[in-house]
Point group: C2
Chain length 120, copies 2
DNA sequence: TCATCATATGCACCTCCATTCATATGTATG
DNA sequence: CATACATATGAATGGAGGTGCATATGATGA
């Protein structure tokens, strides 16, 4: 018997597949959202701009940990900051943040509704 | 001098912040998209359902690696599968997948347009 | 029921990264 | 210019997860 062949469909798919670099950048972007601490920071900033020590207090974490994560978020243009004396306030840089997280939220809630349906 | 106080705003933010469990689940969901291999698999399935060995061939990776990642995707309801003889075909389970990735895509391209503007 | 193909699973290794600790930078005030 | 506060940075550590290898499961056909 011969191993089954799928060259035709593979050629189609291969042509439509974006370049590796783009796919890497895209997964790198989602990697940012794939951490609880960063997700909490972003949700906090939904409400209001906040200084570093306020976020640290809110999440019950050490200040350097927050600073490291804020740097990641800033490097990826998800947040920006402004200085006011000694204090530095961080805020959301982009409305895509809200819509990306919103889509994820929808998927989660829909998934749970389906689970509940099956239970009934 | 006294350390600066931000209790008022923190109380507001704290009340609006979703429960920890939800924020964990949400970042866990985005973690799925935060891997190049899984991103490639999802993009491939945009075009057509595919069997495991076709995906492995397309990505130039070993079959068990693909199986492991397909399991992750399936456990999180992002893909589903059907059997046809010995072959198992995987396909996208949810249109949220397209819209979540689409939002990420928009953020990337917008970010790049801004970089180009600054260069000019 | 034996051999072959398609896929799944278990385990070990290795890399990546989030956090911590210590310390540096920056800013106002006295 | 010395001190205190706010934040950033660097190095080290510990844990999570992606991949490869070996092997198990499952299905088909002779």
């Amino acid at each position: 018997m011969m191993k089954h062949n799928h060259d035709e469909i593979l050629n189609v798919v291969r042509n439509e597949l974006p370049p590796d670099e783009l796919l890497c950048d895209l997964s790198d972007l989602f990697k940012i959202f794939g951490d609880t601490t960063r997700m909490k920071i972003l949700f906090s900033l939904f409400e209001s701009e906040l200084c570093v020590c306020a976020i640290a207090e809110l999440l019950g974490m050490a200040q350097p940990a927050i600073s490291h994560q804020l740097r990641v978020l800033k490097n990826n243009k998800l947040v920006d900051c402004r200085r006011e004396g000694k204090t530095i306030y961080y805020f959301l840089a982009d409305d895509h943040v809200r819509s990306i997280i919103g889509q994820g939220f929808d998927h989660l809630t829909e998934e749970r509704m389906m689970k509940n349906d099956k239970k009934i």
